[in-house]
Structure formats: C-alpha cells, structure tokens
C-alpha cells in the first residue's frame, strides 16, 4: 500500500510537470497553479540524482552521505526527546488519572502548552539553558533540541494515556476493588493493558511530533549537524542546484517514517491487548 502511494505521488508530480505550463496557470495576475519549471519542480530523476552529487566540488562526501549522517544525528536527538516526552506524558496522565483535582488543575495547561508556537519557544529554551548544569552534567545545545522535541511529544502521550488509563468500565474497576487490589495492582492488571489501544496511536503521533520538533528546533537554535541545518544550507544553494533542496526533505520524511515504524513494531508486540472490546 505504501509503495503504491509513493508511486502514485511520483506519477502525479511528473504528470503535473507535463501538463501544467512552466510558468504556472494564471487568471489575470493571480497565480492559480504553481510553476512547474525545472527550478521549482525538478524532475524526480534529478531530485534523486542529487543524492549522488559531491557535497562540495572536489570533496569526497556525497549529498547522500551527508543526508544520512544528518538524519542519524537528528533521529538520535528526536529519540531522546521522544523518550523524555513519553515518560513525562505518561507520568502526567498517571497523576491526572489518580487524582481528579490534578486533572482539573493540569489539563488546561497541558493543552495550553501546545498553542505556544514552537519557533518562539526554541530560542528561549536555548537562552535559559545557557549556563545550566543538571546532576553534574553541563547543558549542551543538543539537549535544547531534545527538550523541544520532548515538549511536542509529551502532549499526545499525556492525552492518550489519560484516556486509556480511564477507559476500563466501572464493572471492571469495581471488580478489582472487590478483590481488594491495590492501586498498583489495578494499574498493572487493568489500567495499563486497557490503555494500549489508546496508547499506540498516541505514541505514533508522539514519534512524528518528536521528529518535527527536533528539526524545527535545530533550525530555530541553529544547531549544526542535523537535518534541520542541512535544509537551510541546501536551500541557500537552491539557485545553483534546485534539485538538492529536496534531498534533506526526503531525508526528513524517511526519518519520520522510521520513527513511526519503530512504534509500529511495538504495536505488533502488544497486539494481544488490541483485541476488540467485549460486546457487553
């Protein structure tokens, strides 16, 4: 299915170039459909051909190798952010599930946290953490990127886990109470397994959000080494080599797919808990 979608998208891209004039379609002065010339929309062969180009004339590294190393770098930052985000989101959900008052107090802020534009936040985090030392560790710029990544990732986890942990019907929670089960036993035997169908989609969202957060934070902070910086660098070279602009974008997309794919593996491992709800 995925393969088919990719092929279809590629066909659409080339069809657009074939059908739409190079200057785009205009009604009066307004541009209705974007330009399809080779600077704006290079042929797919050129886009993928760009991966094979020399990064800098005369140097040994290709564009592909720098995209791969940038993806690997950013993916690790995103993974760190994802991990922190999942833990924080889950702990928040646990606290909110445990105490209604915590939910009432916290939930509005959890939602509010996501309305702040990320671009505005990234330099702030970077600025605040300038001379920070945590547990004997000096705060490094990459940690700011992961922190912002975590900031995006925790949200879907907090919301999804809260719904999941609260999903068992009263008959099941009362049953566990009749068995004199402790809060911890109820969590492990009932609430956690019941939350899996809610948690998996939340983790997928969080994985994608962590990747986006990492890339945007890299750009915003100006951290070198990752895919975010590469997008800027190649965009600046666009006049000379338009096809190269797409290389890091393809890299970023692959990165997101890898992240979500890893969560899907987890989903497969937990499929036992994904069974349909009981009829009654």
């Amino acid at each position: 299915m995925l393969l088919l979608a990719v092929v279809l998208l590629a066909a659409l891209w080339e069809l657009y170039k074939l059908v739409i004039p190079a200057d785009g379609v205009r009604v009066g002065d307004a541009l209705i459909l974007p330009r399809s010339d080779d600077t704006s929309m290079p042929h797919l062969s050129e886009i993928f051909g760009a991966f094979g180009e020399q990064e800098v004339a005369g140097a040994s590294g290709t564009v592909l190798s720098s995209v791969i190393s940038a993806v690997w770098y950013s993916l690790r930052l995103a993974a760190a952010g994802f991990a922190v985000g999942v833990v924080v989101g889950f702990l928040l959900a646990l606290a909110m599930q445990r105490l209604r008052t915590v939910e009432r107090a916290l939930l509005p802020y959890v939602v509010l946290s996501q309305t702040v534009p990320l671009i505005a936040l990234a330099p702030l985090v970077y600025g605040w953490s300038g001379n920070l030392t945590l547990f004997g560790l000096d705060w490094k710029p990459w940690m700011s990127v992961s922190a912002i990544s975590a900031y995006l990732a925790f949200f879907p986890v907090a919301i999804g886990a809260l719904r999941g942990l609260s999903s068992p019907p009263p008959v099941q929670t009362e049953l566990l109470r009749c068995y004199a089960a402790s809060w911890w036993q109820t969590l492990v035997r009932l609430r956690l397994p019941a939350s899996v169908p809610y948690l998996i989609p939340a983790l997928k969202l969080a994985a994608a959000a962590a990747v986006v957060g990492a890339i945007v934070a890299e750009i915003s902070i100006g951290l070198p080494g990752g895919i975010g910086r590469l997008i800027i660098t190649y965009a600046q070279q666009a006049t000379g080599d338009p096809s190269r602009v797409y290389a890091p974008i393809v890299g970023a997309a692959v990165m997101g797919l890898v992240a979500v794919g890893l969560v899907s593996l987890l989903d497969f491992g937990l499929r036992r808990y994904h069974t349909p709800k009981e009829a009654m």
């Binding site: 019907p169 099941q172 109470r177 004199a180 089960a181």
Partner: protein, 266 residues
C-alpha cells in the same frame, strides 16, 4: 463454634448527596442471611436493591447502621476476600483468556501459578466451560461470558456470593438454564447468595427467602419464605411455585394499597 451469619444488616441506610438535594436511597434495613442461605432482593427500579448489595460488598459506605459479613465488618470482609461478586455485565478482561480471567482474583492474592491453573480449570469444569479455557472472552456468547464471570466469583471459594442481576442481559432460555446451574453450584459449594433481580419467577425459583423492597426510600416491606422442596425444572410448572409468585407479586404491589408500578425501565 457456630458459623456466623453470612450477612447481618442492622438499621442500614444510605443517603447520596448533601442538604436539600440529598437522596435517601435505602433506609432502616434489617436483614440477616444465614450461612448457605439463598436470598433474593426484589423490587422496582430505584428501590435501592443494588445499593444495598454494594453496601454489603463494601463498594459504598452506609450512611448509618452496621454491616457484618461473615461476622466481620464489611471492609474487613472485602480485604479478606470473604465474598465473590458478579454483576449484570460480565466485565471480563478482553486481553486475558477465559482461564486467565478466572485466575485473576487468585493471582492478585499471590496464589502460585500451578495452583492457580488447577483451581481455574476445576471451576471452568464446574461451569461446563472446560473446552473454552484458552478462548478469548470475545469468542464466547453472552451466557458463556456470564458463566466465566461466575467461575471467577467462585475462585476464592467464598462463603458468600453477591450477584447483581447477573442474568439480566440473557435471553429467557439461557437464563433458566443458568438459574438451574446456579442452584447446582450453590449446592456443591455451600455458599450463601445475595441475589439482586427484578424477575419474580427468577427470585422464587432460586431463593429460600425473597426480600421485597419498596422504592424511594428503599426499605424492606416483606420477607417471603419460598416453600419449595426441590429446585428442578418440574418445579417451574408446579402449583407452589405459582402460588409463591403470586404472593411476591402482591407484596410488590403493596397488598391492597394502590398498585405500584412493578417495573420501570431499567
């Protein structure tokens, strides 16, 4: 040493809410259920029969009065697992097998794996579910799910079974078969049962005594002894059965007073 009564209620009442908006759900309930006795609570919707069962189960605290289960305070009895409970909805955990569901209360109290398994299989055998031990709840019919729930309620070998309309969602045929099975199981385990229902024939067929309750605030209006010797299928067509049904129906209507709606929508 004499066996303590399974349930002793003295002057039990329950108010929900505070002040002017408070609702008196039940009031002045005195009731004793002897060890091994089968007692049904019957009454129109909103008479507080489920509330009363929940008070016995220590799921809610009474506003007044005292509750003893097996001679202990209700909270102690719950912690000691002196009763098993089954609700109208089976409430099985979908991610566990049938056997895993029956093992749940055992696992919570540190029963070893081998013993858990053996006990669960015995109970499933008792409920006629031996062939379904490794099935998922979603693969079973409603009646079978309810039987799993009853097996689970029996897992700790309780001296008292609390049942809140456990057959309420089942069709009539399945329901009658389940009633007969319950009679058999009670005979085998010797457990006392407090059984909430709003079906008069069900209450009469199952119980030694039927406790008739009136609505808002719920109180016991009458306790009717059921004079049935045996509880087999023939009883359902015998004269004493019908006579007792009539008796309970009249008690529900309030004997000569203006008729009370017998059955509201649940």
């Amino acid at each position: 040493m004499t066996t303590p009564a399974a349930v002793t209620l003295e002057g039990v009442g329950k108010r929900f809410g505070e002040g002017a908006s408070a609702v008196q759900a039940v009031t002045g309930i005195d009731l004793t259920v002897a060890a091994g006795e089968f007692v049904s609570l019957i009454g129109p919707s909103g008479c507080g029969k489920s509330t009363l069962l929940r008070i016995v189960a220590n799921l809610i605290e009474p506003s007044e009065g005292s509750v003893l289960v097996n001679g202990k305070p209700a909270s102690r009895a719950r912690l000691d697992q002196d009763y098993g409970i089954a609700f109208q909805s089976a409430g099985l955990l979908e991610w566990r097998t049938v056997q895993g569901n029956v093992e749940l209360p055992l696992g919570l109290h540190g029963v070893g794996k081998a013993q858990r398994r053996q006990q669960a299989l015995e109970l499933l055998d008792l409920m006629g579910l031996a062939d379904f031990a490794s099935h998922r709840p979603s693969q079973l019919s409603g009646g079978m799910q309810q039987r799993v729930a009853i097996a689970r309620a029996l897992a700790r070998r309780p001296a008292l079974l609390l049942m809140d309309e456990p057959f309420g969602a089942l069709d009539e045929m399945t329901r009658e078969r389940m009633q007969s099975e319950l009679i058999r199981i009670c005979a085998e385990t010797g457990a006392a049962v407090v059984f909430v229902t709003h079906s008069i024939p069900e209450a009469v067929f199952l119980s030694q005594r039927v406790v008739v309750m009136s609505p808002r605030p719920g109180r016991v209006t009458e306790i009717i002894d059921v004079p049935l010797a045996a509880r087999d299928e023939d009883v359902r067509e015998a004269e004493p059965f019908f006579a007792t049904i009539t008796d309970v129906r009249e008690a529900l209507r309030g004997r000569g007073r203006a008729p009370v709606a017998e059955e509201g929508p649940a």
